[in-house]
């Protein structure tokens, strides 16, 4: 309760800073180039709007009460295997699944056609289901398996996740409410110390599985996402089975919410899995996710819209537009370069005025982000500035832009399971986009210095110092944002 009061005070002052910033930003005399100003405003206020909704969400943070798992429920674990996934991983996962304390049956949904997997399943006390040539990634197999099994509760376990023996203890009790359709647990990893990319990828999820999902639980919008969601069979059957698509978990969640099922989020780490360790795998995963999330935004969201609660409408909109960073980053990249080459700028603002109004917003944004870290699932290891995650997110803007374009054109991205071990790649190919931007920015800087020292009139140099310095500052911020992806590509280069 005390935390919530402090949070409320911080949000209140943060809101005031945003209001003052808005009153200052949207002034007619600030418009220099109408189109650029509109673009820049869209990018800036997209970011601020997301932050505000995030604050609102934080204010609703809530943990479900602890409920003991009743005895005698019939529980299944579905885990899937696809060609290319390493055999050793399943040894560990199936062993861990067997060790889960609550009585259950584990099913291995297998389309590898590899006899070793059937043998392994037998060895680890799991039921082997041979399911070859089904549509969708995991979802086709899950739906086929649903028709062959009868358990009332089904955990869809990602094969790269190792569940703890107590997995079901905090989960199953919540199904005593017959309206609860699924219970999602936190997603955490054990390989994040292995590489820069793994740490960055893990950092990108900490806040989501911490304060964000707890806030979503508080507003009744917790989603099935990532891995390790336990479903009620009748809920899945009511929507015709598990959803298909690149973001099939999200498709399933939005359909269940639209059908009126409730969701529970348990912020407990009861399994740990793998994040991509190399840049190539990370980029492929991000392309799949962004393409999948846009598909939910364009196809599922309008269909479900009328049946969702107000909070769910807002929440799915936020999820659906998460990867618009692919559209806002190029605007931020364009603006300083455009000014430094052509003198065209979106806004006529005094840099001191800008700082005076923008810094408070940034200050409260950071303070509230840090304050909310008390709700992380594992604060001791997850707290921090998460700068790696941010650098890689902005650095991969073109991946998200590609995801958007593919979704708009309706071009499919094939589902390939994320690589489970670190892959080396060609540095120049992995770093092409951020490297081009960095080289271009440094060339711009050199050209600006030469122009201002040798070519521009003295009068023009003297009067434009601050604007040029500000734009060079923004240009250099862009260089910093590109550095993470270049560093990752360098670490993953082929020797």
């Amino acid at each position: 309760m005390k935390s919530r009061i402090v949070l409320g005070i911080l949000i209140f002052f943060g809101l005031q800073s945003v209001v003052l910033f808005a009153l200052w930003w949207f002034r007619a005399e600030h418009v220099s180039n109408r189109w650029l100003f509109a673009m820049l405003s869209a990018a800036v206020w997209y970011g601020i709007a997301r932050m505000l909704v995030g604050w609102y969400n934080f204010f609703h943070i809530e943990q479900p009460p602890e409920k003991r798992a009743p005895e005698g429920l019939s529980v299944a674990i579905f885990t899937t295997s696809s060609p290319g996934e390493p055999y050793e991983m399943f040894v560990e996962t199936l062993e861990a699944a067997r060790a889960i304390a609550y009585p259950h049956t584990t099913y291995l949904l297998d389309d590898t056609g590899d006899p070793r997997f059937a043998e392994l399943a037998r060895e680890k006390g799991a039921v082997h289901l041979e399911l070859i040539g089904l549509p969708g990634a995991k979802a086709g197999k899950i739906n086929a398996a649903l028709s062959r099994t009868r358990e009332e509760f089904i955990l869809v376990l990602d094969p790269d996740h190792i569940p703890f023996p107590e997995f079901f203890a905090p989960v199953l009790g919540h199904f005593d409410d017959p309206r609860v359709g699924f219970v999602q647990v936190a997603q955490a990893y054990y390989n994040q110390p292995r590489s820069f990319v793994a740490r960055a990828a893990a950092e990108q999820t900490y806040a989501f599985y911490g304060p964000i999902m707890q806030g979503m639980h508080g507003t009744g919008t917790a989603v099935a996402i990532g891995a390790n969601c336990t479903f009620r069979r009748s809920a899945l059957e009511s929507i015709g089975g598990h959803g298909l698509g690149l973001a099939e978990d999200l498709v399933t969640a939005i359909r269940l919410h639209a059908a009126g099922w409730k969701s529970i989020y348990v912020p407990k780490i009861v399994a740990r899995g793998l994040v991509p360790e190399d840049l190539g795998s990370f980029v492929k995963q991000q392309l799949k996710w962004s393409r999948g999330v846009y598909e939910v935004l364009f196809k599922e969201y309008p269909r479900a819209f009328r049946k969702l609660t107000l909070h769910q409408k807002l929440s799915y909109l936020m999820i659906g537009t998460y990867y618009l960073v692919g559209l806002t980053t190029p605007i931020y990249l364009l603006i300083p370069a455009l000014y430094l080459w052509t003198g065209v700028q979106p806004a006529a603002m005094f840099i001191s005025e800008y700082l005076a109004h923008a810094l408070p917003v940034g200050f409260f944004g950071v303070v509230i982000y840090r304050f909310a870290q008390r709700w992380l699932c594992d604060p001791a290891t997850e707290r921090g500035w998460h700068w790696r995650g941010m650098l890689l997110k902005v650095g991969c803007w073109n991946v998200y832009l590609k995801g958007l374009i593919l979704a708009l054109l309706g071009v499919a991205v094939p589902y390939i399971p994320t690589a489970k071990s670190r892959q080396a790649g060609n540095f120049w190919r992995l770093a092409a986009v951020p490297l081009t931007i960095t080289v271009g920015s440094l060339a711009t800087l050199a050209a600006v210095i030469i122009r201002r020292l040798y070519l521009m009139s003295e009068a023009e140099v003297r009067i434009t110092t601050e604007v040029a310095a500000g734009m060079i500052g923004f240009l250099m911020i862009n260089v910093v944002f590109m550095s993470g992806r270049i560093y990752a590509a360098w670490k993953d280069r082929e020797h």
Partner: protein, 382 residues
Amino acid sequence: MTRRRYQFAFFSLGWLLLIGFIVQRGFDGAFGTTFAAVRNSVADFGQTLSDREADAREHVQPHMRREDVARAYPSLSAAVLRNPSKMLYGAFDGALPESFAGITALESRIGQPFAVISFYQAWGDRPDEADFPLRAASTIDRLGSIPMITWEPWVKDFDPALRPNLPSPAEREYASLAAIARGDYDFYVTRWAASAAQYRKPLFLRFAHEMNDPYRYPWGPQNGNRPDDFIAAWKHVHLIFQKMNATNVLWVWSPHISMPWFEYYYPGDEWVDWIGTGVLNYGDTAPWSRWWTFHQIIEKAYPALLKLHKPIMITEFGSVTSGGDAAQWYEQALRDAHEKYGAIRSIIFFNQAHDVTLSATPLNWSPLQDARTMSVLRLAGR
């Protein structure tokens, strides 16, 4: 979320709003000066950065504009500026004060730098109006020239939220000069004068120009501003400048000479340093206009101006190209200014390519638009 929790949230939000309101009010009072100090130091830092950059530029390119100005105008001291023996050429450009590109282009074509660089500032609370334009004036000074600021009392530009004691913006324009004379705008004039004093270098200040024209600006006679009100406002503002030690300011009294009774607006010899007036030939671009020469525009008013025994500045000098021969207009105008109108000591070119002050379709006053005009000016500048 339970109902009780929402009630709690709204209750606490109400309290927070109240606290926030009080804190913000206090913030302005308690930290207003701190905030201004921080802003000033940021501005100082910008100026320092700019000076360092110019130093670096000087290092690789020793040529500086102020040397060119010094060659054309050996002295621009305060004493010389009060009564120059040599004609002071100057220019206004539409891109000022953010950019000097237009001024530089005009200078390089004429082949001589301007002694005076003119720009306009309105009164108000916007960041570009709120204070003396120190950055632009300092830049003009570093470039070796003298700034001329046309200072327009657009009293409606003051933010009603910040100025609860002023009438509503719509009401302010009626009899605004009397209000200025009464001291209603001292909060602004005093601060501006203090910054102008801080600038220390000479500058021309042209306050409330064309005050006798009922068709132009809100401080004109159409809004119940009588000549006495203008004179009282002028003296009041002038006294504040004196009180703030802004004696570096040269006062340019600037009526519209084509409108009658401008003599009644003259505040008196001790309050004025220069007489200013615009001479713009609108050619056939307006129904009320014909192609008038410089001589035709100024001849009737000139004897009256001459009687004031002050140097005269043509504060806006220019011709459109539509309706006659612009090159010939400039040539004859410059010749007449030298030969027939000896009291004219300064001419400010009106390099505005996109003037929408009087007409919906923009007028182009820039001498740069006409190659023949430029060759005339190039010769005249020598």
